[in-house]
Symmetry: D2
Subunit: 345 residues, 4 copies
């Protein structure tokens, strides 16, 4: 921590600050500048409570953290990439993984038709919502248990693993029974009760970035999962909220590159929610591959205009097949880069 005292801080205030820092178990070094005193505090242990104390202490102008507030999820803690094995597929490994399917599970026919099509086109994991977080209480809220059962049937028929969202702590066990990967939606990224419950759950978690969450906050929420017992976390960039309205959200693709520097966890991109517009999904998917994501989460529906939700951003089956064809040469480059990086590491 670096504590910058106010210009007019008294000697007593400075001494008081130093004492308080020592009470927290840190060592103190103070530097007398021309204009003000700056204090460095070093040592081991969490600095957050000490920082908060300092910012509320008379004479202090600012108190800044030097080290990152997360541990288990950082590259410094673990240099090699985390690989998460799910139903014979590995996320974070040497293959780029495409997860695809409808926003909501709507019927046996819809989910089965989609599952077969996306499997045929090269997807490895089926997405589909059984519990839907909707802005309006009057909108379709999902098929719930029936939706989970339909997903399980689709898995049986196609061999695809299943990723689906959980909205409530009460449903964690039930969803874990059916799903291979449990999704935490953007609106729940800081629902700490849910994160704690998922920390104790034996399934990997796909953690979506909140629509106005910083990269650091995303990593802190991943830290909640690991600190409570679940190290199998994949992060998902799905667009952030900005002033721009031409797209539903602003896809923060460079966050993928930032995350690859800061953490060993796999990073997935959701081009459907990020753009909100079907016509933009293939271009953003290409960019996600090129920038080094570990996978995609794409909305696909047999007939987007009849979708119960998110139709405008869903590819139809033929559009998905076409996108997967076009991605092939990019995926080849992706794999070369990934294998080369592993060899030099």
């Amino acid at each position: 921590m670096i504590i910058s005292m106010r210009k007019n801080a008294t000697k007593e205030e400075i001494e008081h600050v130093c004492e308080r820092i020592r009470e927290f178990g840190f060592k103190v070094h103070s530097i007398e500048g021309e204009e003000r005193v700056v204090i460095g505090a070093v040592g081991v242990g969490d600095v957050t409570p000490c920082l908060e104390m300092l910012e509320a202490t008379p004479g202090v102008e600012s108190a800044v953290r030097i080290s990152a507030p997360y541990k288990f999820v950082s590259r410094e803690f673990k240099a090699e990439r985390t690989r998460i094995a799910v139903n014979g597929v590995e996320i974070g490994g040497d293959e780029f993984v495409v997860m695809a399917g409808p926003c909501s599970v709507e019927s046996a026919q819809q989910i089965m038709e989609t599952a077969e099509a996306v499997a045929g086109a090269g997807a490895k994991i089926l997405r589909g919502g059984a519990f839907k977080p909707r802005t309006s209480p009057y909108d379709f809220q999902g098929l719930e248990l029936e939706g989970l059962q339909l997903l399980a049937q689709a898995r049986e028929a196609t061999g695809l693993a299943i990723v689906t969202e959980v909205l409530s702590e009460r449903d964690v066990e039930r969803v874990a029974e059916y799903a291979n990967i449990i999704q935490v939606g953007a609106r729940n990224m800081q629902n700490y009760a849910l994160l704690k419950a998922l920390g104790k759950c034996p399934r990997p978690v796909l953690l979506k970035r909140g629509m106005s969450s910083t990269i650091k906050e995303l990593l802190m929420s991943a830290e909640y999962l690991t600190a409570h017992g679940n190290p199998n976390v994949m992060l998902c960039e799905r667009g952030i909220r900005t002033f721009e309205t031409a797209t539903r959200n602003t896809c923060d693709l460079s966050a993928v590159a930032v995350l690859n520097e800061l953490t060993h966890l796999p990073v997935i991109v959701d081009p459907s929610h990020a753009t909100g517009k079907q016509s933009l999904v293939p271009a953003v998917s290409r960019a996600a591959v090129a920038i080094g994501a570990d996978g995609l989460l794409v909305e696909v529906h047999p007939c987007p205009e009849k979708a119960f939700s998110d139709g405008p951003q869903s590819l139809n089956l033929e559009q998905f097949r076409s996108m997967m064809r076009d991605l092939k040469p990019y995926l080849r480059l992706w794999k070369e880069t990934r294998v080369a990086a592993a060899a030099t590491a």
Copy 2:
């Protein structure tokens, strides 16, 4: 709804769109412009599913909602202000209501000392967190049940009503046993499982605006509460996330004026979280009174530099007393305006 077709939309596409709209039960009026066809759709019933369908239908450029997506919380549904009676205090009525207290309940002594001081200075409701949503899993998470019990003791001693946050559906009943008002924090504004649980709860809810939620989304979350059975909702502006870093958040004070036009629900301002800085709290509080809020939610601590959380934005007891003194002439103007408005309504 107004549907604008693409310039090059075919006759078949236009006809298809009109048919689909009629299937949803709306009447269709189409307008042929020089450049494109625009279709108006009118009728009763929720337009959301129809809008989503349209945006995914070939030939459609955009589909826009005309009416608001919320009902019960709107001024059009109910013109007179909602007044919420709590323990002899009325929120939304003819008195401006100050809620004050520490971020976290830390000890019997801390909460009792604060309660007595804020009651003495004119606060009517005591705030204090027993369950704390913290960005880091390593930070203090609250005294939980013990915190609730200490709040209840403080109420008994001072007569102040209690507002405290609930983080988990599982705790709703337990918190409702102790609290007069249940707070939903900014991070949980779109935790729909929690909102549904609180819809069935007999206690009024203080719903904080998410840090990147629009005013419309805030009203939709309030609509969840009312649609699920709980009409006693007060909204809370606590700052939104923007690019500015001089303050912890950006206090969207004009949102109070906007909400007063759109809804009959009371609006509370939290100057502590909005600014993150103790020295700014009195000025923002004055502005909140002047712009027509119904109350304040202020963080107060006997010794901010020893607070377990949010010290930098907490007033100490003397600072709170001083602020309450300075607010008095503004509160007199507030009351005159409120009573005059009620007389002409």
Copy 3:
């Protein structure tokens, strides 16, 4: 400056950093923590070039400035408020100053009618655009010289001082001939060529905050004006761009309180651009008075629906009169506070 080295920085890298800092004329203090080395650099002189150098130097994780990058505009440089005398009115002094008038000067009749009405209601300064910055090249661009002349006639008739915008360096002299205060619009806040030209101009400047400029950047632009010779600067909060769309911009009212801590320059609030909606202007104006602004800049038009620009956010003459009446008791409180503060300072 505080420089935090990477965990794995070598001894050579640390030594190299220390040497480079000394080359810039600063003294170096280094602190060895458990995990990394932190270096403090103190001395006089601008640290910006040194900071940029450091962030590009191997082994450095981050380099942070401790002192503010502006000088002349800071409270530390000059504690007492700047008072700007214009045509018998003082901005930043013991009277709250209302500037009002149309967005654009449109005709002799329009500006004269408005000038007389706002003067009668208590405004001291007439606003009106002769050069208009418009998003579209096809929109009305202002009456230019004729507009300036009409403003001058209105001043003669009413005694009101004139504030009007300049868009181009080439027009600075011409505008200065007619205007008492020259306005720099939000889009030009970082038009440094224009700021330099205005630095040499003998007229006070009203500097509007850019729609996505931080408070610090606003102060840096004010520093351009003062550093180039013009100390008579008033700052103007006119709303910032955020994700919220219910208002045209988000009025950052707490910026007024922040600025009152950081600078001695007067601060004006423009409730018209900040909200974009006439019905919200009186409430935001009350809040601006209460939070401690020095004045208002309000759009007023005899017939807003016929205005060439900004009709939706303009008050008509009667609405302006009514607002000024309602503000009176708030202005009385404002003056009491201001005079009391001056007495204790």
Copy 4:
């Protein structure tokens, strides 16, 4: 335009609105819904003044534009891509164009060394600032005329074309004498005086997106240039301002895909300003190629830690060479896609 009347609008108000619209030369179609009247207005001509009028007219709830406010720059106006020939290079054509060089021109040696290195690595255009827009008046402001002369010498020696920024209308002619492409910086995107001056200039313009400008506003500023006579405009995405602080700005890469749908103008990506961090530049550059940009604008410096400005985000010469090598297979895919698209168009 679609005008939605308030629920309680009177017959007189509706009739008044229809009349006003007809005065502006549009035809009126009104639709009576269950709850309110909606009016459609069609015709040719600019709708902006009519829209502003309507929003200020009694009884109107909202007035929405259907058609885009720009013309010359739209795909609807001109379907084929604009190709801009500069010194034997074509931007917007069948080759991806890399522009590279230092933030500021600092010395003959620096610019010559950089020019030779980037030319050797495959760049076609040399960037370098002679006039620098700096947040602080105390920072290096550029070598001005001397900088322009050094750029011209570098062009002579290497054959690279030159792109450099102009800050002031007064300098347009002087800069046009030396530069092949004139850059408008992000802070000047809405400096309309400058845009008008450049509209009459015979050089192509590289127009950078303002840091908080929407895609629509960027296109409107391009429309200023074309409407005033200069059709040779390339757009540049350089990151927008958001709440995220891990990167200097947030690179809105999907804006490239959006622009490719809306306009025929070439789109350049600046990964240096977008991220502010050298280590992220290669990944973002790959993504820019994959998403379909027409070129890159990259900061390169022989010794970033000694750069007068923007060192942290500059590649050194070896890093630039390495990035260009790694981009090769992506550029091959880019070209295949571009040629195939041209063949089917």
